[in-house]
């Protein structure tokens, strides 16, 4: 471990996590929300992993199976507490599988693994954030001089990538930002952030996407982020992604997804109805205005995705399958 890392690890051990008495009173949901609120850079899967590490800290080191059971039950609690459990599942599955795999190794004593996890909580978070820089490094070359990128949502991977590209040549490429009127504030924030880096941004409404893509050679590529990347290489992402992907495929514009590998999840959505939880987008009403879900998502199938840009480089959607098979050994999530 290099020195700064050791320092990070040192800090972690000093965090007053042990003050919480025992697992019966440990509130994993509150921990998760605190973590997300306290660190705006944290992604959902990593926040879930951090919460589970905090959980490990509170339960006494008993038998392996007891610990695995505790982790599993708290993972379920955590997943039940949010609308969309898929991003969390990516984190909790990875964590559980890591525990199991480390214990399978001959030399991996349970205490050592536990100790390692407890000590390095912050390190994992910093690695996850570094992964985002890795995405920017891996993918910024797509955004060359004179190109125009269409994007929507507030993916930090995408804005990071665009900022990295802007560092190379300020004002040399342009961005078309698709505004989301349901989340006007967020759109304002992202656009402002991009403009502050010297990137010329054109804001368009969601209704204008097809028209803008039809303007020949005006838009060269689409970049979006993802909440979770499913095992077939598709993505679960902010609602609106699917239609943009369809329009891009129709206009033969490459559609790139910037996502960290810890968002890979063992889930095989068959269609829009199968996104892993119940989402009510259709609220028929003859009296008042319809209710809109706040954090609605949709599923974009892999056929519409040109490349995944991960911290490990640029890959085809099939990469997800290989990676998941590699660590889980099976795909029966």
């Amino acid at each position: 471990m290099s020195e700064p890392e050791a320092a990070v690890a040192q800090q972690t051990t000093e965090l007053p996590l042990r003050t919480q008495p025992n697992d019966s009173t440990f509130d994993i949901v509150a921990t998760y929300r605190d973590l997300l609120a306290s660190d705006p850079d944290l992604t959902k899967p990593v926040a879930a992993i951090e919460s589970l590490i905090a959980l490990l800290n509170t339960v006494p080191s008993t038998t392996v199976y007891e610990t695995l059971d505790t982790v599993k039950s708290h993972s379920d609690l955590l997943k039940a507490s949010v609308d969309n459990p898929l991003p969390l599942q990516a984190g909790t599955d990875l964590f559980l599988q890591y525990l199991v795999a480390s214990l399978k190794q001959q030399d991996g004593s349970f205490d050592a693994v536990r100790h390692h996890l407890l000590r390095n909580g912050r390190l994992f978070a910093s690695r996850a954030i570094a992964a985002r820089n890795g995405i920017a490094e891996a993918g910024w070359r797509f955004v060359r001089e004179g190109k125009c990128v269409l994007t929507h949502g507030a993916s930090r991977s995408v804005t990071g990538l665009l900022e990295r590209a802007a560092k190379n040549g300020e004002g040399k490429f342009r961005v078309v930002y698709v505004r989301d009127e349901v989340r006007a504030e967020e759109s304002d924030r992202v656009v402002k952030e991009l403009r502050s880096k010297g990137i010329p941004v054109a804001e368009i409404s969601e209704a204008a996407v097809a028209h803008v893509m039809g303007l020949l050679r005006e838009v060269h590529m689409v970049f979006t982020g993802a909440e979770a990347v499913t095992q077939n290489g598709g993505i679960i992402s902010r609602i609106g992604t699917y239609q943009i992907a369809k329009l891009a495929a129709q206009a033969k514009i490459p559609f790139y997804v910037a996502a960290e590998t810890h968002k890979f999840v063992r889930k095989f959505p068959l269609d829009q109805r199968d996104i892993g939880y119940k989402q009510v987008v259709l609220d028929f009403s003859s009296t008042g205005p319809s209710k809109q879900p706040k954090e609605a998502v949709d599923y974009t199938p892999p056929e519409l995705i040109s490349n995944l840009v991960t911290e490990n480089g640029v890959h085809l959607p099939g990469y997800v399958f290989e990676q998941l098979l590699d660590i889980y050994g099976s795909l029966n999530g």
Binding site: A101, A130, G134, T261, G313, L316
Partner: protein, 439 residues
Amino acid sequence: MPSVSSGHALDLEKFLKSLKGQPLEASINSLISLLKRRQIKGSEPCAVATAHILLQVVARSKWHDVDSLLANVSRTGRKLVGAQPNELVIGNIVRRVLGLIRDEASEDRGDTADESASDAPTPTDIVPPASSQQWTTRRLDSASSAAPAARPPIVSSYSSINPPKSLFHLLSTSPPADGDVSPFRNSGASTPTWRGNSSQIHALRSEVIDGIEEIKDEISQVDDQIAASAEVQIHPGDLVLVHQPSTTVERFILRAAQKRKFTVLIAVAPPRRHSAESQHATFRKKLSAAGITVVNVMNGGLMAYMSRVNKVIIGARAIVATGGVVADAGAAAITRAAKEQGTAVVVLSGVYKLSPESPFDESSLIEWGDSSTFVSFADGPLVCGAEIRTALTELIQPELVDTYITNLGTHSRDHLSSLISDHYKREDADFHIWEEAEP
């Protein structure tokens, strides 16, 4: 490929002959100018020349440890790539040689850096030879004293030079930067482990040279190995369309012609003013001798034939990481026509042409040629009034290709990424990016 005419082959031969007599720097410079002047061109000659010059670098340049050898090779490699960035094979061969040196060096150390980097417990198949025990102990000694300084300063940036592999990386015990690259790159402090014993240096030198010889053998055998799968691909009675057949494609077709009766359509570029004799004449003669019906097709009327064609065979100049194929200009239109009609498109290419680079910028892969074959320079109004461009190569979109045949067998597009990871070290994959990082 018609461009590799006998004249260019002569230049390559001349260059290879000159290697012995000249000092190393002079050979490197002459190769650079040959590449710049396009006197050596085409994938195979470029690959062969690169392998030869790197062999000279390993054999004759001054180096006393692995780091300086790697630095020598990558410095030379960078110059060559810079001389002709369109030829992706040059970079590929440089990467192969760098990977080879890393492999040999870590084997000599009895080093398990690679194993520790991948988090999955993999059985180590490197049995440390007796002599390497000494290395191991020495390495441990220096590890206790000099190691903290040798470690890279930050873990934070996953620079793409050293991307982690498994999903477990997030939770893994040690950052891979520790064992993976640092001893061979950017760390002055780790070199003491490898300084010393001239006999070990000598052993490493000869091992690396053997490895480069193997790469050269591989390049020379590629056509034969690819041709071995010809009988599986071409069936009796097939109508096979080839586009400006390269030697690889010619060998492939001729091999099939030994056993099968089929028809070959040769798509050629429209004749240019200077090329009086018909193209691919010897190839057609050989085919007719084998009893194969040959039809010459001018490039324009391809769609008309496509409905009857069973297979389109394209020789690649290079394949990029996404599966896109750099081929002679005109091939992309043919593959698109084939896609329209549902005809299978087969790409032939040696593994050495498979590049780990992603085509971030398509236009950088396209090579522009001499347009004087279309317009005479004496035609004043045209020369002044119009811009005439002629593309020699173009990128075939990966979705238009059905099958890739290499010397290692038949592959689908999804399989290419594992071929790439088999052949190139991850730390070498971004050879160009290095260049920018270390001016």
